[in-house]
Symmetry: C2
Subunit: 153 residues, 2 copies
Amino acid sequence: MSKHYKYYWEDFVPGSTREFGGIELTREAIVEFARQFDPQPFHVDEEAARHSLFGGLIASGWHTCALAMRMMCDAYLLEAASLGSPGVENLRWLKPVRPGDVLRVRTTVLEARPMESKPHIGLVRNRWDVLNQKDETVMQMEGYGMFRRRQAG
Amino acid sequence: MSKHYKYYWEDFVPGSTREFGGIELTREAIVEFARQFDPQPFHVDEEAARHSLFGGLIASGWHTCALAMRMMCDAYLLEAASLGSPGVENLRWLKPVRPGDVLRVRTTVLEARPMESKPHIGLVRNRWDVLNQKDETVMQMEGYGMFRRRQAG
């Protein structure tokens, strides 16, 4: 197979940014995700959430991660010669995400280097900022991604 | 409200470990999560996955995170005076998670300290190891959690 992709490792230029997404988070989606994966009272129970530190229902931090991933897939990853990710650093849930919030993602390429052991693969380190409709950063992380190189080194 | 919980900050003793969980991941669950949040071919398409680097369908890394969270909720977090989490460090997806794998979690308390600004709250730093049925560590991270103190400092 020699499928052609739109984006290869060379297309992730350090310093460049991409902004994409715009998913509105409904109360139903917050509760549905949390019932399945993170049923803490402030994620699933309106009344308990009102009396919590957060003053109302908030999304599971893992839900925000999953939505950021989905927005990245739709924006470019499904058209990229992606080989998955070894991990993430400095994941921070900075502000609560609430019903009605509209989330988007801004990625910044921090670093792009060839893999020493595999000359046809490169590693990219991206910062992800997840922003809400008030331009507040609700989540931040540094993610690593592996991509095929257009031209092997 | 002065609800009583089973676990407070004092119950997370540095060096102590907990092991829990045992969720079998089905092909259907892997594909369902990935269709919603991470529709890369090796997560949603059996045939494409077979021809990928991974040699078969694998779970989204965010699915593994979400399942680890669920296991933690069921094991102790829902009975704990938890106030949420500011974030995670050193998240590593070390091995693919495949259909039929049975996942469990081992947590180790790395550090527990009172919050300087809030004497009734303490911070706990946990290492999470997610293990499969072959005792391989498939994921690892260091998570922070905030808990009420049984006795304010």
